[in-house]
């Protein structure tokens, strides 16, 4: 049987997709429910969760897919650095940081002839 056969595709998605992701969410609820609001354990979990998401962010910037795969690394890293500089210089407003980074990227892509 292959995934194209009607009902089998739905079973496939339910087991390999839904169950494979929700198991971890449920384990997260069970663990999180035992953590006290001000505990050191929660502080550790918070650090691990933030570092995980940060690693995903770094991979999106360093190893992008699609159009950006062909763009030079210095442009992507430079755009993020510029956005970060604008963010810290002008009152730590997310919109300013995001807009500066995207503007720098767009300008660079245009200049490189994308």
């Amino acid at each position: 049987m292959t995934w194209q056969d009607g009902w089998w595709a739905y079973v496939f998605i339910a087991i390999a997709g839904w169950l494979a992701t929700d198991i971890w969410r449920w384990l997260g609820v069970i663990t999180g429910n035992r953590l006290r609001d001000d505990s050191e354990a929660l502080n550790w979990v918070r650090a691990v969760a933030t570092a995980l998401v940060a690693a995903v962010i770094a991979k999106l910037i360093l190893y992008p897919t699609g159009v950006l795969e062909q763009s030079p690394l210095w442009l992507r890293a430079g755009a993020v650095a510029l956005g970060a500089a604008a963010f810290f210089l002008f009152g730590r407003k997310p919109a300013i940081g995001i807009a500066s980074a995207i503007a720098a990227l767009a300008l660079g892509l245009w200049w490189l002839g994308f």
């Binding site: 292959t2 995934w3 595709a9 739905y10 496939f12 998605i13 339910a14 087991i15 390999a16 997709g17 992701t21 929700d22 971890w24 969410r25 449920w26 384990l27 997260g28 609820v29 663990t31 999180g32 429910n33 953590l35 929660l42 502080n43 550790w44 979990v45 918070r46 650090a47 691990v48 969760a49 933030t50 570092a51 995980l52 998401v53 940060a54 690693a55 995903v56 962010i57 770094a58 991979k59 999106l60 910037i61 360093l62 190893y63 897919t65 699609g66 159009v67 950006l68 992507r76 993020v80 956005g83 970060a84 940081g97 995001i98 995207i102 990227l105 767009a106 892509l109 245009w110 994308f114």
Partner: protein
Amino acid sequence: MKREEDEQSSLAWFGKGMRGIFSLPAFILMLSFVGFCSLTAQAGIPVEQVVFMVGMVWALPAKVILVSSMMSGAGLATAFLAVSLSSVRLMPMVAALIPELRGSRTPTWLLLFLSHFVAITAWVFAMEKVPHVPRERRVAFFAGFGITLVAANMLLVAVVYHFVADFPPIVAGCLFFLTPVYFLASIWHSARHPVVYVALLFGLAGGPLFYWLFPEFDILLAGLVGGTLAWLIERLWRRRKEVRG
């Protein structure tokens, strides 16, 4: 009378959560789902199955891995393992969110149900907004946001699937880049615990480092090792400050 007021108030907060659909993160996520539409359309997966996938799996990276497993003709067990490995990160994310989210009488079954709506975007949004919501209304607020976000993207996929067109390269590149840049700005901006700043920096450095060392488990290791180091360093800092103070 008091009870009625309470219920009304929960409903009002559910509505406020729903309005989160008109926010920058929701907008960025919807653009990512336009990209997911073109991926699945090219892969030849029927639109009903794609909509089903959006509702059932929800986390976008997990779906991309599921689609590539389907494409490569992988068996059920292989696909399950690949998707599971990519989704372990959901556990600490949910575990960090739950103590912020639950009220004094929130039943566990409700948290189990609502955890389904956690993925990176909803997590970043909730960690930022939830502290400004009264404790007993947080579950309603998150439910309003999470359920609306999933439903809106299921609808979006059902419609856009039939009209997938490619964006001009500069636009496509900038749309892709919005995701990491938004996550960075939002996490830094909304951090209320010093450990978050340190963990963010260690995770950013750990991601590529572990991708280079152990590409199979890079995200997991970056989170565990980077997060633990960040926690230790921040704790040491705090101790020193306490000693001096």
